[in-house]
Symmetry: C2
Subunit: 412 residues, 2 copies
DNA sequence: GTAAATTTATAAATTAAATTATTAATTAAG
DNA sequence: CTTAATTAATAATTTAATTTATAAATTTAC
């Protein structure tokens, strides 16, 4: 499935050391691709100014890139005095990237083109995430099925990224929480099966990346993304880059010891934020309340759906179920307390709330906001915007696709 | 006091936009300076490989830099086969930088040359930090006195950096906790008085920077530096750069709400780490213990020194005073609990303990280490080294000098 | 102890890129 | 509607940088 254009991209972004002039041309071509990537499109003059090279040099590089199939002439810009300039942009269909977002009870999977358009996706593909070979095989079948369903024009796939929850080292491609069955990195194993260059990323970080580059984030460079799901995930963007820590384990905010309860967290300790402020905790607390005699619109014939999914509670909250609203607010207050610690440490420009629980919108945002006001240093807190995810449930696939794309293009 | 060499450096690192060839030469010269800065010295071949330019081009740039007085020929390297290469390095005495480290009860001030040697310093200059005009005037007199005492050869000062505790925005030069009397940024005010380009930095960040570039840090890029002083400071180095947050308020670890005590922190909240795990808290607890009848070698005729300085308690701890050792261990345990939160979030390669309390060495390090083992996620914690500061009380001045130098040279 | 191999430095030749000049296309002013 | 002013693209010229060749300085092998 390797086209000539495909090969040209690999060549351009390969690491092989070449000499003098050839190296400089390659660097400049990469710089042009990166500039077009950031700005969408540009004229010769734009590029000349951005890269500090002369007009004739820029022209010849652009012509080469057009010959490579990576750039195309997009016509002329409007002029307000003077000859109209040609404008150049990336060729959307020159390459595609896949993002696989693995959730607890389903998989989302999407295809992004070279210009960062999501051209195809399959949402909510039924799946049960478990740390077993069967579960892994099922995931592979879903990926292969997705590729199989693509039109021929979309099969020029350069790379894919799989988002997994838990501890993932995206540098060496190992996943420690799931599918850690072999010596080889998981990314290599998937790569061998699918024949497509594969990267691995933590789910919350991938969502943060998506939100950062194609979502709610504008010019902010230091951003925290909170993934409110069954657990509490954190994606840290610093200086516009994903922060992963030494081994890719950064962002474990679920285990801030904020409580003096007796609940044993799965990490083995007591009092972790996750024990009282996660989706898991929400379900537990909801069931407890029902057992204690509270009523909810989720009950039919005095029975709850079994298994009770987080999505059910979210839906009821949006339908103004009083018990759900109350519990979600409680979760929000606790999340806010945890977040205030992070805000004191990071002084971020922006905190984005994402993940399934964020779909309760103001029901979760307001208690978080007021907890931030209450618990974090006001001078620091005043700097921080609190916004809801824009990409919603697509943050993961878009982020995954972008990571695959940007790792390959060494844009990150 | 502006020499020709001085002017050459300013020109080389100024932001003015110049055209084509001149711009490229300037960039390459900067790149050479930066490379020599990182590696200490280099041959023409080294530079050729590092910057991807040809040998004759490198030769001519080096010759220009020698003409500018910024680079010098340091003789020949040993050869193991082939003609011996000339080696080039920065000219140490081409420029100097001042670091002013403002502590609660004294000021440290030092002078660094272009090759990052500390050529002069005055430690423990008596001073009382207070948020008053008098205190500010006194600080200025100390700086001017230090410069006055320098030999003529050392007066070619390019920039200085003042380290202040509390909230400092080093980007715009405002200090919010001290000397915030005027509309103008404090850095500009000092600049006008001294005639030297001035930068401001938070004390813990400056110490972290010193430790990072000239201290205990080797190849680690993600490092936390904990400044154990009257308060608890945190310097965050990410990807080799100081992390400051949006307005320079990042790193407020003293206000993690870990306790359920009734002590009102100066931030207005209860339960902050700082209320039980700072130098301030140590003095308070020490006095309480004495009042409750405990004995200590610090007592003479049943009386404690007044005022009782943190340094006194540190000294007694090193002299094996049992009460002091006990209290320091208690502080360590609590610091460790706070740090374990940060380690879960940052997954750093290295945590460095600095500040005056760190001079109790193992008396503080061991309780911190065991608290980390107990309270942070083992997978994450296993990644993290815990080391003591190498620069000790000079971390601040060296860091300050380096910040002044690197801001000017846009190395950061 | 001399020659071969290796590495650096400089000089000469060649190639590449930047300037400058020219032509083309477009808007605004008279 | 024509001309001046402006901006872009291309061609011609000049300048700059890379390559290649040569000379110089060292180490190692025979």
């Amino acid at each position: 499935m390797q086209s000539q254009v495909n090969q040209n991209i690999f060549d351009l972004f390969s690491e092989e050391t070449i000499s003098g002039v050839a190296y400089k041309n390659k660097s400049l071509k990469r710089a042009i691709i990166n500039h077009l990537d950031k700005t969408g499109n540009a004229t010769i003059t734009d590029l000349t100014l951005a890269l500090n090279i002369s007009v004739p040099k820029t022209t010849s590089l652009i012509n080469e890139l057009i010959g490579d199939g990576l750039v195309k002439d997009e016509g002329k810009v409007d002029s307000k005095g003077g000859r109209r300039a040609n404008i150049y942009g990336l060729v959307a269909e020159s390459a595609f990237f896949i993002g696989v977002d693995v959730k607890h009870y389903h998989v989302n999977i999407g295809l992004l083109d070279f210009k960062k358009n999501l051209v195809s996706d399959e949402m909510q593909v039924p799946y049960l995430l478990a740390n077993t070979q069967e579960s892994f095989d099922h995931l592979i079948r879903i990926i292969q099925g997705f590729i199989g369903n693509l039109s021929a024009a979309h099969r020029n796939i350069l790379a894919l990224c799989v988002n997994l929850s838990g501890r993932v080292n995206s540098e060496n491609g190992y996943s420690y929480s799931f599918f850690h069955f072999h010596e080889e990195p998981l990314s290599t194993i998937i790569e061998k099966i699918t024949g497509i260059r594969t990267y691995l990323e933590n789910d919350s970080r991938a969502m943060a990346y998506g939100e950062f580059h194609n979502g709610i984030v504008r010019d902010e460079k230091n951003v925290l993304f909170v993934n409110l799901d069954y657990g509490i995930g954190l994606g840290i963007m610093i200086d516009g880059k994903i922060y992963r820590g030494k081994s890719g384990f950064a962002g474990e905010m679920g285990h801030i010891p904020l409580f003096t309860n007796e609940l044993i967290c799965h990490c083995g300790k007591k009092g972790c934020l996750e024990t009282e402020a996660s989706g898991q905790a929400l379900i537990r607390m909801f069931k407890e309340k029902i057992a204690q005699g509270s009523g909810s619109s989720l009950q039919h014939d005095n029975k709850l759906p079994e298994p009770l999914h987080l999505a059910d509670i979210i839906q009821s909250t949006r339908n103004e179920d009083v018990l759900c609203i109350e519990l979600v607010a409680g979760i929000g207050e606790k999340i806010g307390r945890g977040l205030s610690v992070l805000i004191n440490i990071f002084n971020p420009e922006l905190v984005v709330l994402g993940g399934i629980l964020s779909q309760t919108d103001e029901y979760i945002r307001l208690p978080i906001r007021s907890a931030l006001n209450k618990y974090s240093l006001s001078l620091v807190n005043n700097d921080t915007q609190l916004l809801m995810s824009k990409l919603k449930e697509k943050a993961g696939i878009i982020g995954g696709c972008l990571i695959a794309r940007d790792k390959l293009l060494s844009v990150q």
